[in-house]
Symmetry: C2
Subunit: 313 residues, 2 copies
Amino acid sequence: VVGEFELLAKVRERLPAAGPRVRLGSGDDAAIVVAEGATATSIDAFVDGVHFRRSTASLEQIGAKALAASLSDLAAMGAEPGEAYVVLGVPADLDEDGCLELLDGIAGIAAETGTTLAGGDVTRAPALTLAMTVVGHAVSADDLVTRGGARPGDALAVTGELGGAAVALLEDRHAEPPLRLDAGRTLAAAGATAMIDLSDGLGGDAGHLAAASGVRLEIEAAALPLTSRLAELPPRSNPLQLAVSGGEDYELLVALPPQRFEAAAAALAPPAGPGLTRIGAVLAGEGVEIRLPGGGILEPRGYDQLRPGPERR
Amino acid sequence: VVGEFELLAKVRERLPAAGPRVRLGSGDDAAIVVAEGATATSIDAFVDGVHFRRSTASLEQIGAKALAASLSDLAAMGAEPGEAYVVLGVPADLDEDGCLELLDGIAGIAAETGTTLAGGDVTRAPALTLAMTVVGHAVSADDLVTRGGARPGDALAVTGELGGAAVALLEDRHAEPPLRLDAGRTLAAAGATAMIDLSDGLGGDAGHLAAASGVRLEIEAAALPLTSRLAELPPRSNPLQLAVSGGEDYELLVALPPQRFEAAAAALAPPAGPGLTRIGAVLAGEGVEIRLPGGGILEPRGYDQLRPGPERR
């Protein structure tokens, strides 16, 4: 059903005009979309107490983060954002105004990224729950970048800065995911062979990319673009460990032929772009090694060992 | 994310082979699908205590019902089922075996309908929660049937039988939604001008179709194809009221030019098809009138007034 979403009508002024592919949006049994080419589709769930806490973020921030984090998967494919479909599970203590605030956050990111909110479903639920399906587009399936194409000899690079989300988490602050959709498409066009967004942490997500590509990744810790905010933490916290193990930075980890790196970095150069930093190399073999300047190896810890409280399954 | 769905690998033997449009299924940031033509996309949420009860249905039945009910929206568009994306919100008292049983139910319906389970996300949640996104396909957007195309003069018809789900509900039995995907496509090809699946009850869903089409629907109560199981109920229950107000029959309500009705009914004739019964007419005006044989008018009650306990928002 896409029909039982009267709430959407109330935030329509904040919604972007439906994209040209959307022939029928919210309000019928299903949305109708005409896509010439290939689609990339991802679904993500966000549950209060697991993925966010209503105590440390406003409802608008929660809605914005849910869509931004979902779109991060499309960024990592190099897809153009198209449509989003939203389930809201609403607990007894959230009234219509609260739902509207949440939808306002979603609508703001939709407008910023040109995403059409094409449908949804609203239901009661014991805890605030969002399920987001996002659909991105590309001219052909070959234009989309999977995790599985990295080859020995490729350079390994990362967009933006790392560690900001871990700092925010430790300080009980809300972290807004950056939107790397343009960067993702730029990297896809620049010849990226494999790409993944950093939702679980560099250590873990590098492991996913290495496994999917059947390669070994060697990362130089000294090369990591750490946020200066890590310096705000007490000295006994391990900033490097945090930046490597902390999730939700939502930057892009990308493999690409080394001769393509300079052009890609120039295309993403600040201040217009997030920056692109070469952090290591792709080798034959398997697994991920993060090499410390002194010669040692950093073992990334799981994100769940850093984050206080409950964690995603 | 489509990656964090290792559970799917364990039911893979029950999964149908990926459809020809699916270039990359579960396991990357997003699934890649190449659709030539138009897509119909719908999202539905199912929460324990709201849409089902674990006390009256097995986990396999719950999974099967969630996908079948979701696909019913595609049936009502006349779309060919394509891909499904599943969020599982798993409470503390549901172990991996339970999740597998649930997925087994989903996989069974996927196999029966030729739907590819192309991705998903698993998270902890305070109550068992499923969010299902289903994507159907058609050669062109014009081949899909909305709720909004009924015209004065059209005949109004319904597939199968009505009232079975209401009987099951009152008897605390599990009702399995019928799969009307083939019927929906047959009706679309036969010239259906508007279509909707009966999830909220004939009265309510006819109202949705009437409003979307800007027409008035007159339904003859005596013509309704009531299930013989209504006779099992105690005499003081009102079988007709139940059949009209009870939801979740998941049959199709369809408007079509009267000269097209006979061919459509022949194409859906039992035993191969579910049957198609003419139940009324489309007129200029607005609203829905269900006329009793004696000349009175039946007021459909809301489904929530029939169903014991909590109800969807």
